[in-house]
């Protein structure tokens, strides 16, 4: 066992040895160790490099507030950067590396930045790097050169490119009481709330419940505090109404008492247990929250306070008591309050020599004198540490007499040898979650700390969170908070628990900084010094937010947990104002950094559902190339061997026009519109009239938005007097449904109509072409499909392959065509029957490309033209705007801007150079390849037309109709395609519609 390891005590299991590596060196530790405690036990003192100056840094804390000791954990190729070593539990095979150093942690070339010293003061980058005003480095070029170098030097860990293979999951939980923090206060609250039968969740950040009980060295009612805690945890564990979550960071407090937490389920293991995720994202809806989140000890600001070996007093105590590790052999203490004396005693009990206790206060309590004597330390009151000595490791400190009232040092400096300096600058309650919930913190001059206000609407606080640093009082508060949270009648706790040793005076001296020569760090990770804070003051960045933003104070990965208050105090002193007038920032989620993977949870790798039609597998089996359309997948082409996309769609379209083709139209939005006022609703929603539509017929309809622009189009079928089936475009299915529901529910609640989305209930196949009717006739039973039984826009019911079908004779392709709808469960059978019936005729299945080609030939509009900016008239659909009735959009559609000249209008284009056209190309009168300008509009869709044997396109062109017959040019600088086109009518093919009318 390492010489720094105590023979017994703490949470570690000395019988279980664990092997891991740090920066390639093999180390051993014990079950229960963190990477920090294990390395400390191995004598490691250098853990990281700071952000700006690349200064060598050791462990400052033992917890989530660690600013210095950040490492990258490697799992194969997967890198997990910026994890505090204090939060990494070691396991066999753990591989961790240090960060932000080159070539090694011990020798980092960027440490040269320290020579920059005062030039690299706060905000220096705003004042330089602007470069020359003229010449090759003018504009942004010089800065961008500098930026390259700065970016490389900045940053901390490196993220990898290898996809994370871990699994993350999400859980929803509901409880009456959520207790955050499992120290004595939290445990007391959880016990009391649970005893009443309330559903309780107890969440603890650390791997072990108990909080300070695990390291305080106190006894509670005669029992060691750790044992007291573990007894309560044991009780709670047996209760069905209690859920215990350890390794769980409650990081977000959202509206209506919704709290977000991340549980690190498997990070402490070499590999997750079967079925277990790496992290679990908890969304907890709590009736009431007990905030028992404790407090953070604050550093003191003095020159050299960042040297490895300078550590928070409570952290040292934690290492000694909780992990059985001594952070040093010869210890000095520097404090402005009583709590560090207990830490000194703890270190002494653990076997360290406590050489000196330096206290800024001239007078201290009798208890403190006793404690100092108890640990054999020389007590030097009325002094302050003015410097630290050593290189990358502390060897000693310098101190000088200090007058608290004046904050001044006087002569009489001396040195003390020490390899570890414990510091304590008082405590800041962990009020982050309350602040997120909207609580405004209040400054307490006695405790020199921001405290939460009394209690919030959804939460109640207990213990150190409230500024209550006595364990006995904290337990009493926990008891009370548990009762309040569980909605129980308030009763007194009876007798306070007997906690030994008795609590010390929690009030620190209001000393935050010792001003002496040398860099004194306020924010350790970001290298913000007290001089930086004063510089911000000189330059007028005095509001707390300006201070933060200008100096980057509190913006590091520890989020200023330790540095915020000292920073504010130094600014307050510079301003000559009390601290609360400088203000405090509002904390925002997350309380501590949480993994992106956890928050994405099961949507990592599964962002959106896939919508598949009933015929999806058939398409795949028949060589379809699939196209993603919103959430849907649709066949783009059914490519033959060696066929290009163009060859495939041209073949499909040509065969369809020559004989027949079939396309899957199941994705079209379908809404059942039913009820006595169904026709009235359609009259109001569509721009044209539907009430006159006979039963058994369909009609093409156009919808406008309230602002008078085109919203959507589709056919609606009248199946009965009060029964319509509306179809919408695939893309707008959901929007149209919502639009109609809104009007029905909010604007016209008197209309008796029921809307049901039936998109997924119906499978649809459109079969078109000169042979379509024959093919249909060959497989449909129970109805005729001739012109008389099934005229254009007629609807019949029959059966195909034994399945009931509904057939409507309507055409998007411009051919004689039929849409065959069957129940989705029958879709594939009906489809296969149609395919089989089509085989003798040479019918082909066709995809979206051929569908698009035929609709372009016909000049039908789709989403590319209905782009939310076009009016019905722009699309030559003015004839669909009924003048007989008002409808949605009718009042607004004639505003001056919508009827002005110069609007983009739908036209057809024919390529005159016999080369392909592309969607997104622009149209100009005269080509200027070097300096494209004068756009008249753009191509919305393009294809090779087998019917015309030409490359054609639809386009939206300014005053398009007036340009029919005129020449223009495509101008597509992005794809380097320029060339002449003729502007024509959008009705390229069979404008009279002879083919579809038959």
């Amino acid at each position: 066992m390492s010489p720094r390891r105590r023979p017994s005590g703490g949470r570690i299991d000395r019988l279980r040895t664990i092997r891991f590596t740090f920066d390639g060196t093999a180390f051993t530790g014990h079950q229960g160790d963190t990477l920090a405690s294990a390395l400390l036990a191995n004598g490691v003192s250098l853990f990281g490099r700071s952000f700006k100056y690349h200064r060598p840094r050791g462990l400052l804390t033992a917890g989530v507030d660690e600013p210095n000791a950040l490492v990258t954990v490697l799992r194969g190729d997967v890198r997990e950067p910026n994890i505090p070593a204090t939060m990494v539990e070691i396991h066999d095979g753990l591989v961790a590396v240090s960060q932000n150093r080159f070539p090694s942690l011990a020798y980092d070339v960027s440490a040269v930045n320290q020579l920059g010293g005062k030039v690299l003061s706060a905000g220096f980058y705003y004042k330089t790097f602007m470069g020359p005003v003229v010449g090759p480095l003018k504009g942004t070029r010089f800065w961008m050169l500098c930026e390259k170098i700065i970016r490389r030097a900045a940053g901390l860990g490196r993220a990898g490119h290898a996809p994370d293979t871990a699994r993350y999951e999400r859980m929803n939980a509901f409880c009456d009481v959520l207790v955050v923090g499992s120290g004595p206060a939290g445990l007391a609250a959880a016990r009391e709330a649970a005893a009443s039968g309330a559903n309780v969740i107890l969440a603890e950040l650390d791997p072990q419940f108990g909080g300070s009980a695990n390291w305080s060295g106190e006894t509670i009612d005669g029992e060691p505090a750790a044992a007291w805690a573990s007894d309560i945890v044991g009780e709670l564990r047996d209760q069905a109404n209690v859920r215990l979550l350890k390794r769980t960071t409650v990081w977000g407090y959202y509206d209506d008492n919704t709290l977000a937490a991340v549980e690190r389920v498997s990070d402490h293991k070499a590999s997750p247990a079967k079925g277990a995720p790496r992290h679990r994202h908890w969304t907890i809806r709590a009736g009431k929250v007990v905030l028992a989140t404790g407090a953070f000890e604050r550093p003191l600001v003095f020159p050299g306070n960042d040297r490895p070996g300078v550590v928070m007093a409570s952290a040292a105590q934690r290492y000694a008591n909780e992990f059985g590790v001594l952070p040093g052999d010869k210890v000095a203490v520097f404090t402005n309050n009583d709590s560090a004396y207990r830490s000194a005693v703890a270190l002494n009990n653990a076997g360290a020599t406590v050489a000196t206790i330096v206290d800024v206060r001239a007078e201290i309590s009798e208890e403190c004198h006793t404690l100092a004597r108890q640990c054999g330390a020389e007590l030097i009151v009325g002094h302050a540490v003015t410097a630290t000595e050593g290189g990358k490791k502390l060897t000693g400190i310098k101190l000088a007499p200090f007058t608290e009232a004046a904050g001044a040092l006087s002569s009489g400096a001396r040195s003390v040898e020490a390899d570890c300096l414990l510091m304590s600058g008082g405590w800041s309650p962990t009020i982050h979650l309350a602040s997120q919930a909207g609580a405004r913190p209040l400054w307490d001059a006695e405790l020199q700390a921001f405290l939460p206000p009394e209690a919030g609407k959804g939460w109640v606080g207990a213990g150190a969170f409230n500024g209550t640093f006595s364990t006995a009082q904290a337990i009493a508060e926990g008891f009370a908070a548990g009762r309040v949270a569980a909605d129980l009648a308030m009763v007194e706790i009876g007798t306070l628990p007997d906690v030994e040793p008795a609590a010390l005076d929690p009030r620190p001296a209001p000393v935050f900084e010792i001003r002496a020569k040398g860099k004194s760090f306020v924010d350790f990770q970001h290298d913000v010094t007290s001089d930086d804070v004063r510089l911000a003051h000189i330059e007028g960045f005095v509001s707390v937010e300006h201070l933060k933003r200008y100096t980057t104070l509190g913006m590091a990965t520890d989020q200023g947990k330790g540095s915020n208050v000292p920073g504010l105090a130094i600014m307050a002193e510079a301003l000559g104002k009390p601290i609360p007038e400088v203000g405090t920032t509002r904390f925002r989620p997350p309380y501590a950094p949480v993994s992106v993977g956890a928050l994405a949870a099961e949507r990592f790798g599964d962002l959106k559902p896939e919508r598949l039609t009933p015929m999806h597998d058939w398409h795949l089996d028949n060589e379809a190339t699939m196209y993603s359309a919103g959430l849907w997948f649709r066949p783009m082409i059914y490519g033959g061997p060696g066929e290009t996309i163009e060859q495939a769609y041209v073949r499909e379209a040509r065969v369809t026009r020559e004989t027949a083709g079939i396309v899957d139209v199941s994705t079209l939005g379908k809404i059942a519109v039913q009820g006595p006022d169904a026709a009235e609703l359609l009259d109001r929603a569509y721009s044209n009239v539907f009430s006159t539509l006979p039963v058994g017929k369909a009609r093409y309809g156009l919808m406008l938005r309230e602002d008078g622009l085109v919203f959507d189009d589709g056919t609606t079928w009248r199946l009965g007097d009060n029964d319509f089936l509306m179809t919408t475009t695939t893309a707008n299915a959901g929007k149209v449904m919502q639009h109609l529901e809104y009007f029905l529910d909010v604007v016209w609640p008197d209309l008796k109509v029921h809307l049901t989305s039936v998109t997924d209930q119906w499978a649809g196949a459109a079969i078109g072409g000169p042979k379509a009717r024959e093919i249909l006739a060959a497989c449909v039973t129970g109805t005729k499909v001739d012109n008389e039984a099934l005229p254009f826009m007629g609807i019949v019911h029959g059966e195909i392959a034994g399945a009931p079908v509904m057939i409507c004779r309507l055409s998007f392709s411009g051919e004689m065509a039929f849409e065959v709808y069957s129940g989705a469960g029958h879709g594939i059978h009906v489809w296969e029957a149609l395919i089989e019936a089509g085989q003798p005729f040479g019918m082909v299945p066709y995809g979206l490309e051929a569908l698009g080609t035929m609709r372009i030939e016909k000049g039908h509009v789709t989403g590319a033209e209905i782009d939310g900016r076009t009016s019905a008239r722009d699309l030559h659909l003015g004839w669909m705007l009924s003048r007989k009735k008002p409808f949605i959009g009718s009042a607004m559609m004639d505003r001056e801007g919508l009827v002005a000249s110069g609007r983009l209008e739908l036209v057809g284009l024919v390529s005159l150079d016999n080369r392909p056209l592309s969607g997104g190309a622009h149209i100009v009168e005269d080509v200027d390849m070097d300096n494209p300008h004068g756009s008249l509009g753009h191509i919305t869709a393009a294809c090779f037309s087998p019917a015309l044997e030409k490359y054609i396109a639809l386009a939206l062109v300014a005053d398009g109709k007036a340009r029919h017959g005129k020449r223009a040019h495509v101008s597509d600088p992005l794809r380097d395609r320029f060339g002449p086109v003729e502007i024509v009518s959008h009705h390229f093919f069979d404008p009279e519609g002879k083919r579809m009318h038959g």
């Binding site: 890198r79 005062k118 930026e147 993220a159 996809p163 949480v594 928050l599 939310g868 997104g920």
Partner: protein
């Protein structure tokens, strides 16, 4: 006040950094000004700067309710671009872009404008055509834009999931190389310092509580620091436009206030050298010079002035980021925040005279206001000084809605949360 330079840094370092001067004065408000600008954010400050610089109007006060730059100028995700579809927008934002390119020199303040490119991804051929339409529209106005193939994208942005098995495979993209990012706070501070140096009074912690009226005409404001009269009163309070206009008795505006969340990861070594946007959701990500990935997604989608977001959007944004960058699952979110956006009815801003005599209005920036900061101030100052719009902001009127001349880049109609 001394110019900032490497030399001044060195000189001041030698004197222990004790001789720097405040970046701007902290004057008390005077009883009256020629122009009072309400709102000490980017737009208000740049307006004051250009009033002084371009129009010689220096008897100007900028009134800020909180600390300077406390609104959206310090809450955005810092992208600067002019990749718009419609010419009215593209012209305006491109003018802004040109101003950005020289802004650090103009202000003698390094705003760290980094032209690292903004890449819009397409996931289907149809989306790529839409991007081509936009890119060609830009090119026809002299703005740079280029299509990228998946192979080019993969090389440019390592870490992107380029596999065909992705839920939304990357089919191509549109890049504007001249676009990029800037340091948001520096823009506010740089304009503040520049305006201050030209005599503008920047008055922080001065909340406007009402308007002084002479009939219809506004003649001044009441504030938490007393009455201030002015010949012209300019409102540049995007995010709070509804609130301030209600003080002037204008109950309704073509604006909704929505909260937009943004996120920053812990600092990382350079991971991403450009700004990337997702085509199947409203997600974008870039990396700051400090190393944090700065990213965001869609609006929370309901009216809010609370500057706090909701959890479902957090989950959505993280999922979208991992759909693009599956290696980032192990990276940790450091901070999140919410900004209140003035969502206009067509997604485009309003910079106009009125609606009351003596009043000038600059609002409706949706989530595009940061990049507009230079041009917005430039055009607004022109509008205030000349009582008529500059040609660049002439389309951005308040009456374009009733006239039907909306500028709807996304084609979503009067549904502000969709823009």
């Amino acid at each position: 006040m001394a110019e900032y330079s490497a030399f001044s840094l060195l000189r001041n370092a030698l004197s222990g950094n004790r001789d720097w001067k405040p970046a701007w004065r902290k004057p008390s408000p005077k009883a009256s000004y020629d122009v009072v600008v309400i709102g000490g954010g980017g737009h208000g400050l740049s307006t004051a700067y250009y009033l002084a610089k371009e129009h010689g109007i220096t008897n100007v006060a900028v009134l800020e309710k909180g600390y300077l730059g406390s609104g959206n100028v310090g809450r955005n995700t810092t992208a600067v671009r002019s990749n718009y579809l419609l010419p009215q927008n593209t012209r305006f934002y491109e003018h802004s872009m040109k101003m950005w390119e020289n802004l650090s020199h103009e202000l003698n303040y390094n705003v760290m404008f980094s032209q690292r490119g903004v890449l819009n991804l397409a996931h289907t051929p149809g989306q790529l055509d839409d991007l081509a339409r936009k890119g060609n529209a830009m090119r026809h106005l002299g703005v740079d834009a280029d299509l990228m193939t998946p192979a080019q994208i993969g090389r440019r942005v390592p870490g992107l999931d380029m596999s065909q098995s992705a839920r939304f495979p990357i089919y191509g993209g549109l890049i504007q190389e001249s676009a990029g990012t800037a340091r948001h706070d520096a823009v506010a501070w740089g304009y503040a310092r520049g305006a201050d140096r030209r005599g503008v009074d920047i008055i922080e912690n001065c909340e406007v509580t009402g308007f002084l009226r002479d009939g219809d005409r506004v003649t001044g404001v009441t504030t938490s620091r007393g009455e201030i009269r002015a010949k012209k009163i300019a409102v540049a309070v995007a995010g709070s436009t509804g609130r301030v206009m209600q003080l002037a008795g204008i109950e309704r505006m073509p604006i909704e206030s929505h909260v937009l969340q943004a996120f920053v990861s812990e600092s990382l070594k350079p991971f991403l050298d450009t700004v990337v946007t997702f085509g199947m959701g409203h997600f974008y990500v870039g990396q700051s010079d400090k190393g944090g990935l700065i990213y965001g997604g869609d609006l929370d989608g309901y009216n809010s002035y609370a500057q706090r977001g909701s959890l479902p959007i957090v989950e959505e944004v993280m999922s979208e980021m991992l759909a693009l960058f599956p290696s980032l699952a192990t990276v940790r979110v450091l901070r999140s925040w919410g900004g209140v956006c003035d969502m206009s009815m067509d997604g485009s801003p309003i910079i106009a005279t009125g609606p009351l005599p003596g009043m000038y209005l600059n609002c409706g920036w949706c989530y595009g206001g940061f990049k507009a900061t230079p041009a917005s101030g430039f055009c607004f100052a022109h509008t205030i000084a000349r009582d008529a719009p500059h040609e660049l902001n002439a389309p951005f009127t308040l009456d374009r809605f009733s006239r039907g001349t909306v500028i709807d880049d996304k084609g979503q109609g009067p549904t502000p949360r969709m823009h």
